[in-house]
């Protein structure tokens, strides 16, 4: 119970930190470029919406920093994120909700799959220590993990889309297909997702393999694994139920800590493939100087990562009775 309370507390503290950083950045930067953006809004937006934007970016405000901070937190908690300049006059919330499903589908699935596959490979490689797989797999993935995500995306585009013509080049779905719930449309979406998903999978999998392998090596030397062997249990049962289960715990913590890194790479993968998700939208917002959209997307991505970390903490608690019973 105490563990859970601590994790909830950490979630709240880190959320608050992200909100505060988001509030401070526009105010700390020299020559607030948001002012130029605000000038465009005058006369186009109703006064209360303008006021909310002014509070968010610290423009034209005669109120104290503390008062602006309180108002900003209040606005954000109520989902009042302001108005997008590049999708004017749509509110930021509407614009983001369009991109969100794409990212959840692509990045979410690819990240979780990468973790599961990588962990399994890492466990098997460690089990057959000194074998052929152990000699080849770790060094290969050390090198692959040093490749920039976006560059692997470029390579795939050149190889599989431009040269071999196996997969579509860009976007989330073909412009010629009408977005309806038919099999052909779903197939079209899947075809578009293959290359970006593989890019994320291949570049993120190495980290999970290496950490799981190292955890397994430590765990396999433990007495309870020897005991299981002495009892004559099946190899497969020892591998997954005895060693694997315990080696997974530190890997879950590792998952939580490296998630931000994977998401960062996924942003660039979306950008390379013009995939209509949150990451691509973030970089478009930067290029069109749509500061309200940009800052809200930063908050959203951060919140998604923090929530995922929280969930992996809960999973740790379920897998490891020690965290539940400890003082």
């Amino acid at each position: 119970m105490r563990y859970l309370v601590r994790r909830v507390g950490f979630l709240l503290v880190s959320l608050w930190a992200a909100l505060t950083v988001n509030f401070l950045i526009p105010r700390l930067m020299p020559g607030n470029p948001a002012e130029a953006m605000m000038a465009k809004f005058h006369g186009h937006v109703n006064p209360s919406a303008l006021k909310a934007l002014e509070v968010a970016f610290g423009v034209n405000t005669h109120e104290s920093l503390a008062a602006a901070y309180v108002a900003y937190i209040n606005n954000t908690l109520h989902g009042n994120l302001g108005i997008s300049t590049s999708y004017f006059p749509l509110p930021v919330r509407t614009v983001i909700l369009r991109a969100l499903p794409w990212s959840l589908g692509l990045v979410g699935v690819a990240t979780v799959l990468g973790f599961i596959i990588g962990t399994a490979i890492g466990a098997i490689v460690a089990w057959r220590r000194g074998g052929v797989m152990d000699a080849v797999v770790p060094p290969t993935f050390i090198v692959i993990s040093a490749f920039p995500y976006f560059w692997v995306g470029l390579l795939f585009i050149w190889l599989f889309a431009l040269t071999l013509n196996w997969f579509p080049l860009l976007g989330g779905y073909s412009e010629t297909v009408t977005p309806t719930l038919t099999w052909s449309f779903v197939g079209d979406i899947l075809m578009h997702a293959v290359l970006p998903a593989f890019t994320i999978l291949i570049t993120s999998i190495g980290g999970w393999i290496l950490t799981m392998r190292n955890n397994m090596i430590t765990v396999i030397a433990e007495d309870y694994v020897k005991m299981a062997r002495a009892k004559g249990l099946k190899e497969r049962r020892i591998l997954w139920h005895y060693a694997g289960r315990n080696a997974l715990l530190p890997n879950l913590t590792g998952f939580a800590m490296s998630l931000g890194f994977v998401i960062s790479g996924a942003i660039l993968v979306e950008y390379v493939f013009n995939y209509p998700g949150v990451g691509f939208m973030l970089l478009q917002a930067v290029q069109s100087e749509d500061y309200p959209l940009m800052q809200s997307l930063f908050l959203l991505i951060t919140m998604a990562v923090l929530l995922a970390i929280f969930l992996s903490d809960i999973a740790t608690a379920i897998l490891d009775p020690r965290t539940r019973s400890s003082t």
Binding site: P33, A146, P148, W151, L154, L162, A256, I263, S264, V286
Partner: protein
């Protein structure tokens, strides 16, 4: 004299490490070559990398080993000239964030109590906030980030992982007898930290430097690729930016876009390979076991040497 002898011993130790570990050897050679190119780019750059003087979009030839850009610049020259900024950003960010990690991680572990609680919480919060979106937001307000601004942002976002690891290791060393003995002798805190606490942590600190450098080169080239760096300087990331903006892949100039990526990957691999080798130094359980398997198979032909290997012996005498 003793300093010279210590240096000689360190060099011999490094030589032994490289001979024993192929991963470390390959990583060191790559790093050395890239460092030479970064320090003396003119020796390796046949042409002015910015000059738009050749046939645009030329293919491979002896004059242009990697072809030319659609502006008529020599791709190979750009690649060589871009080495300096990319390598330097990785090394400088790696160094500075390691210093920050050591200071914060060890201060937390050594002080304990409230200081530790506050510093650990701060470290964890910085760790979980996804860095790349944060860097994008910060640099987007500056338009084109200068070299040193990029270094500052990457250091600020890159130190936390190392600080966390170093804190854990320092905590485990904190109550060892030799540290307590130093305290009992009445040594100053500075002496204890610098002479007793940090030396046993060297391999973890080096591993952290390599990890931070890898993070720096990947993040920096990502930023430059999307146009948030200074696009008028020479670096691998900005090469990728220009290649992408001129649709190098679609217009039949794939090498323009692929070559800088390979260069980044080669530098990154050097850091990753060395990092992996240092992991094995820090954690002996991870060292390759091929030798063990061989011994088990032929127990009689070669009697197992019970005791210590040459390496451990010389470590003891040193």
């Amino acid at each position: 004299m003793s300093a010279l002898r210590a240096l000689g011993r360190a060099l011999r130790g490094a030589g032994r490490f490289l001979r024993r570990d192929k991963k470390a050897l390959v990583g060191s050679i790559i790093l050395f070559v890239l460092l030479m190119i970064a320090i003396f780019p003119n020796l390796f750059t046949p042409d002015n990398p910015a000059a738009e003087i050749y046939t645009p979009g030329a293919g491979l030839s002896w004059a242009h080993p990697l072809g030319t850009t659609s502006f008529g610049q020599d791709v190979f020259s750009q690649l060589m000239a871009g080495t300096r900024q990319s390598v330097f950003i990785a090394l400088i960010v790696g160094l500075l964030s390691t210093v920050l990690s050591v200071v914060i991680g060890i201060t937390a572990a050594y002080s304990g109590g409230v200081v530790d609680d506050v510093l650990s919480l701060f470290t964890d919060v910085v760790l979980v906030i996804p860095t790349f979106p944060l860097i994008i937001v910060i640099t987007s307000y500056v338009k084109s980030a200068s070299f040193w601004l990029m270094v500052a942002v990457l250091v600020f976002t890159g130190w936390s992982y190392g600080a966390r690891q170093l804190r854990v290791q320092a905590l485990s060393l904190r109550n060892r007898d030799y540290l307590l003995a130093a305290k009992a002798r009445g040594e100053s805190t500075w002496y204890i930290v610098a002479v007793e606490l940090i030396p046993p942590m060297t391999s973890l600190i080096v591993a952290n430097f390599l990890g931070a450098a890898l993070y720096a080169i990947l993040a920096a080239s990502g930023l430059q690729f999307v146009g948030l760096g200074n696009i008028n300087t020479q670096s691998w990331g900005t090469m990728l930016y220009w290649a992408q903006n001129n649709e190098a892949l679609a217009t039949g100039l794939p090498l323009w876009a692929l070559a800088p990526g390979v260069a980044i990957a080669v530098l990154g691999s050097a850091f990753a390979l060395l990092n992996y080798a240092f992991d094995e130094v820090a954690n002996p359980a991870l060292r390759p076991v091929a030798g063990v398997a061989r011994r088990r198979r032929r127990p009689r032909a070669r009697p197992v040497k019970v005791g210590v290997s040459d390496a451990t012996l010389s470590e003891v005498s040193a």
